[in-house]
Symmetry: C2
Subunit: 198 residues, 2 copies
Amino acid sequence: MAKRGPYGKGIERRQQILDGALRTIAERGFHATSLAELADAVGLSQSGLLHYFGSKEQLFIAVLRRRDELDLAAMGEPSPESLIALIRRNTEVPGLIELFTHMQAAAADPRHPAHEYMREHYERGTEGFARLLRGMQENGSLPAHVDPVAMATAFIALTDGLQSRWLIDPALDMTAHLELCWERFTARPWMRPGHETR
Amino acid sequence: MAKRGPYGKGIERRQQILDGALRTIAERGFHATSLAELADAVGLSQSGLLHYFGSKEQLFIAVLRRRDELDLAAMGEPSPESLIALIRRNTEVPGLIELFTHMQAAAADPRHPAHEYMREHYERGTEGFARLLRGMQENGSLPAHVDPVAMATAFIALTDGLQSRWLIDPALDMTAHLELCWERFTARPWMRPGHETR
DNA sequence: GTCTATATCTGGATAGAC
DNA sequence: GTCTATCCAGATATAGAC
């Protein structure tokens, strides 16, 4: 697996560090996570970390990218169920959600390094979700009238919003709300003849 | 309007400062907004500000509370339309949305001063929205089957998520998505007999 | 009540040895 | 590639005069 040649070792090590950071942030939360603590956790000095990632922000972004990879791999065959299961699993790693939320806020500044990442993240996510929806429409398990991109956008926004709120109020049942909304979104819009909507 | 007695002046001044900060953050954005800049903008020294608000976080929270007040007042009679109009108006003050998003992220830490504010904010918001929905059910403009609290929760989460994303990608048409979702949520669920949902 | 000046502190980044 | 040591910037918070 390790690439041969001059950069093999570094890349491998980088991966290890990333996974260590991922675990640490997941467990201990994002707040009170300075470079020093992160370095400690992976058994490296502060500058050791910086040697690999240049800056704190870039390290965080790398962590986020890595998580995206892992999530994608863990999901396997995309389906509404596997997506909701993913959200449910995220419940076990609040620190990562916290990290994401902070980076999301920071990314509002176009000059912030997370800006680019977030744009990609959303583009990939929306596209992937929309593809799933299109597939469902083709095999008839989703009504043809829904616009896949609009629905994907809304669902991702809903998920983000629920996660942010859940961090503040862990009693919130995210999956219940997601399932309810999914059902409402996919319901066939046919009315009984003679009834107006309002 | 100014209260008489020893605290009248202070309270009044506090209000002025708050409105100044509100305007400043709205215009210039949240990033690159330090205490010093805020103090400058309202024609006060850094410690002048702190005299009134104790700390930066508390000032920010006061700003957020103030905005909640103004929003509530500006909305007048609550209705789906006025809510969506509010979101549309928010488009003109991205800095305030940015502030909210940052505080939302920070509030994940229960020890952070914004934690308490956010809990209240969501409780008030959900309750108010649910009350509106209940009213609509009573006068028949909303189907009786929807659970007002669940729908309010979902809608607020959706709004938050759309706003966070809009900061990153201002091309996103928030109101269009909200209107679409509103329509999907309130659609009557009756199916044509003989059709399964999936 | 408001200002000036300053203390303090946190944490990210850098230089250079090994 | 990794560490130690140091630096430095930025920002908050405080002390005390006016």
